[in-house]
């Protein structure tokens, strides 16, 4: 063999292919690496640097910006909101995903169902926020959610024909025009009393012409007295020709139809009921001895359900007896809940798909073994299925924590003017602070670094878990 010469030749050229192989490998990595270096890594490092400088990045401040973060109310509010999101959302989305995943195992149209539930993920957050802002509109005439609540509410608390808008500061007392006063139970009782054959007229004001048009009210006409009966008229005692005259029935003043009336004795006990005609007249026949008052029953003025202001500025838990800051930090804005509901709508499908996959890969024989061991269906679920699914559930849960820590779009798109101050999250604060008063923002960078540090452990946890799925 001519070993040595061949050897030498190959050895000298021997390392080239090795290097070339790696060169190709590096070349493969290069585009991604360069891209990430300039657009992701550099800004991240720059953010850490900026967080230690003043707003215009000219003076080193050390940790001052971090101190500012923890002593600024708006940023603390953002922290609070992140906490609310993290505490509520991952739990619910995982639970809902689990329920859906388990239930879909048992139906034939599971594919269609899953597609339907997953669908919202592909919607832009802008569109989703828009849809849900409309769904949650506080007028039951527009918002489907409040309309649904209204339908239920009307069974128990139907609105009267002459609803009083309590939220506008209107009270039953405002309605009183003449010869009557409002009682504590929201009813209106005549000032004068009458015996059989007598008459009681009551004038009301503040009654919307629209309502009267709707009820086809006619001009008020004073009825004739009748023996053995108490009669009278209830009318809208307002005329543009003489706005201050509440006692006389002026031309074109309308009677108030379908008012429910009650005849009450001086002890306040109702002895008879009736309703008014389209011209506002009423009649109580066969009235006994003694004098009686006429009562306009409170239910006439009930406004019923007027809608929940989901996206308004109200909070779920107004804690009284605490300092203002503490109160602000402990309350849960209703708008947060509205956004969480929207987010559940978006992400439930994601949780369902992941958990469903976990469910499909479960060893069925273990479940069957449990059944053979005598476990009931619920026990199988509770003691075997769920524990076996634990790794998947954990991945969903932690993924959602990461997701929710970075929550941004939904808040930007959904918060209304009145809830805009109550609902920002850290990511929103980074955005808000970053572009105010010039674009260098130390505080904004400090928030970003903190957010980064908050997400990181969740991410590490997930990567460890995900290998087990």
């Amino acid at each position: 063999m001519s070993g040595s010469t061949i050897n030498a030749k190959i050895r000298t050229s021997g390392h080239r292919p090795w290097i070339r192989e790696h060169a190709v490998s590096f070349a493969f990595l290069a585009p991604a690496a360069i891209w990430l270096l300039f657009i992701v890594i550099y800004p991240t490092i720059d953010t850490v640097r900026l967080s230690l400088f003043n707003e215009s990045a000219t003076k080193f401040l050390g940790l001052t910006n971090y101190k500012t973060v923890f002593s600024t109310d708006t940023i603390l509010t953002a922290f609070r909101n992140n906490v609310i999101w993290v505490l509520i959302f991952p739990f619910f989305v995982t639970t809902i995903g689990l329920i859906f995943a388990v239930l879909t195992e048992r139906i034939r149209w599971a594919t269609a169902f899953k597609a339907l539930i997953v669908m919202p993920i592909v919607f832009s957050t802008t569109a989703s926020a828009l849809v849900w802002a409309t769904m949650l509109d506080n007028s039951p005439q527009i918002g489907a959610v409040n309309a649904a609540v209204l339908t239920v509410s009307d069974w128990f608390n139907p609105p009267g024909a002459y609803p009083v808008s309590a939220t506008a500061g209107q009270t039953v007392a405002n309605l009183v025009g003449s010869n009557a006063h409002a009682e504590k139970n929201s009813s209106i009782v005549s000032n004068s009393s009458a015996r059989a054959g007598g008459m009681i007229d009551i004038g009301l004001e503040d009654v919307s012409p629209t309502t009267l048009a709707l009820l086809k009210a006619q001009d008020a006409v004073k009825p004739q007295p009748m023996s053995g009966a108490i009669t009278g008229v209830v009318w809208r005692a307002f005329s543009p020709s003489d706005p201050t005259n509440k006692t006389d029935i002026l031309p074109a003043e309308l009677g108030l139809p379908i008012l429910r009336l009650s005849l009450v004795n001086p002890q306040g006990v109702s002895v008879a009921t009736t309703t008014t005609t389209t011209s506002g007249q009423y009649k109580f026949s066969n009235v006994g001895t003694g004098s009686y008052f006429v009562e306009l029953v409170g239910s006439n003025f009930s406004s019923g359900f007027t809608g929940i202001s989901w996206l308004g500025g109200s909070s779920l838990t107004p804690v009284s007896g605490l300092g203002q800051t503490a109160q602000a930090l402990l309350s849960v804005p209703l708008a947060d809940m509205a956004m969480i509901i929207t987010y559940l709508w978006i992400w439930a499908g994601f949780a369902m798909v992941l958990i469903g996959a976990g469910l499909a890969s479960l060893n069925r024989e273990v479940l069957e073994a449990a059944r053979i061991d005598g476990a009931k269906e619920w026990q199988v679920f509770r003691r075997v299925t769920v524990p076996m699914l634990a790794p998947v559930l954990a991945v969903v849960f932690v993924t959602m924590i990461i997701n929710v820590l970075k929550v941004f779009d939904i808040v930007l798109n959904m918060a209304s003017g009145s809830s805009i101050n109550a609902t920002p999250t850290l990511a929103v604060e980074i955005y808000n602070d970053g572009f105010t008063g010039g674009v260098h923002s130390g505080v904004s960078s400090a928030i970003a670094v903190i957010l980064f540090l908050l997400v990181l452990p969740a991410m590490i946890m997930n990567l460890k878990r995900i290998k087990g799925v």
């Binding site: 405002n174 048009a213 543009p240 602070d433 674009v439």
Partner: protein, 437 residues
């Protein structure tokens, strides 16, 4: 056009004599939409034709200041931007992003009153040009509803306004349809407070409050809120209730349509908002009483009265206004020419003439440009103001603006007492002023 020809400076090739074609293009960012945008484009046409400059207008919506900041940082600001927020104007001027306009505008400077010029200056240098203005000193009302309540003349004092409101309520109408603005953005609630404060205490006190020289906890502020309460406390002040003011459904133009409905009968009598209500109203108001009112450009079925001051107030003619201030971010021959044109009589006249009800603080506009008597009256009122202030939320750029809205709505909704509002505002203003100097 010819008038400006005589004062051509080195920089003001703007005069654009018909023989000079400048060419090139100018980018303009603003927040005009709908009819305003159309009118703006119409008003720019002669300039484009004369100079051969192509003007690209872009509506940057309400995130305008953010986008301008980003564009400046990105090295590609627009040539000209117009914002409704004097606050962000000040920040940009302070950051030396703007070009001084006095040498560029030349004689056009004289088209603006000293007040409006001052409002377009930063530390004494003129950096801006008010393109349009709105009077916030306006209360629009439905004459048919006033008639139905037996009210024959509009109120001239705040007290009279309260008593009229009470009468209207008795008649079964909501006296005041309270706008919570787009998505409840609190600016309307803020405007109302500002009207009350400036009418009672005058523009100087108002500006002191803005600049932190007057404390939010002062009795003047407290009194303004007391007045505010008495107005809202008038039963049924607000269509759908106060909680709706804080929600999302009292959207613009719903609050206007309560007074000037597109269908059916009106449910409310007055809407207290700026003159841009007009831009919403004529377009869709069918008139509440078709027999007596035929809606035309010259005969609107709506009317307004100036927001009244309490009887005895010295500041009846101190008004609140708003508008869009144009500024030169990137100076080129074409953009200088354009901003000079924007200060001209021709531009302002064309813009006011265009449908949409835009009015400008440009004094050179002839009265004949306004065919609508309501608009004409508003302009007259605007120009006769002894002092003009801007909305505080506009003066405060950035974070204080939404903070103030939110605080205001918390007060309106009854979550915060007046004292709580005052102390919150005081500390937030202090922090804001400390940060933005």
């Amino acid at each position: 056009m010819l008038a400006s020809f005589s004062v051509v400076g080195v920089n003001s090739a703007a005069s654009a004599s018909s023989s000079t074609k400048i060419g090139g293009s100018v980018s303009v960012w603003n927040e005009f939409s709908g009819a305003e945008a159309t009118g703006f484009a119409t008003a720019l046409k002669p300039f484009e034709k004369e100079t051969g400059v192509k003007v690209t207008v872009r509506n940057i919506g309400s995130s305008g200041p953010t986008l301008i900041e980003a564009a400046v940082a990105g090295g590609k600001p627009p040539n000209i931007a117009a914002v409704p927020t004097p606050g962000s104007f000040d920040l940009l001027a302070a950051g030396k992003r703007l070009t001084p306009l006095k040498p560029i505008l030349g004689s056009e400077v004289k088209n603006f009153s000293a007040g409006w010029s001052a409002a377009a200056s930063y530390k004494g240098t003129l950096y801006g040009l008010w393109l349009d203005s709105s009077s916030k000193n306006t209360v629009f009302y439905n004459p048919a509803v006033f008639k139905a309540a037996g009210i024959t003349s509009t109120p001239t004092t705040f007290e009279q306004m309260l008593s009229d409101a009470s009468t209207i309520a008795q008649a079964g109408y909501t006296p005041i349809s309270y706008c919570s603005g787009t998505a409840g953005a609190g600016w309307s609630a803020t405007d109302l407070f500002q009207n009350l404060f400036v009418k009672a205490n005058g523009a100087a006190a108002y500006n002191n409050l803005v600049s932190g020289k007057l404390s939010w906890t002062s009795s003047d502020v407290t009194q303004a809120f007391a007045d505010y309460s008495s107005l809202l406390g008038t039963n049924g002040a607000n269509v759908g209730g106060i909680s709706n003011a804080l929600g999302t459904d009292q959207l613009w133009p719903t609050c206007v349509n309560n007074v000037f409905p597109t269908a059916g009968a009106p449910t409310a009598a007055m809407v207290i908002e700026a003159s841009f209500v007009e831009q919403t109203t004529p377009a869709n108001y069918v008139g509440s009483d078709a027999s007596s009112c035929t809606l035309t450009q010259t005969n609107p079925c709506y009317d307004y009265f100036p927001f009244p001051a309490s009887s005895g107030s010295k500041y009846v003619k101190d008004d609140q206004s708003s508008g869009d201030v144009a500024m030169l971010l990137k100076s080129t021959k074409a953009s200088r020419a354009l901003i000079k044109y924007m200060g001209s009589k021709q531009f302002a006249t064309l813009w006011e003439e265009a449908p949409g009800g835009t009015i400008t603080p440009n004094l050179s506009v002839p009265a004949s440009a306004l065919k609508n008597p309501v608009t004409a009256s508003i302009v007259k009122n605007l120009n006769s103001a002894t002092a003009t202030v801007f909305s505080m939320d506009d003066e405060y750029g950035g974070t204080l603006e939404p903070q103030m809205w939110s605080n205001m709505l918390a007060w309106v909704g009854g979550t915060d007492t007046t004292a709580q509002f005052e102390s919150t505002m005081q500390s937030e203003t202090k922090a804001y002023l400390a940060a933005n100097g």
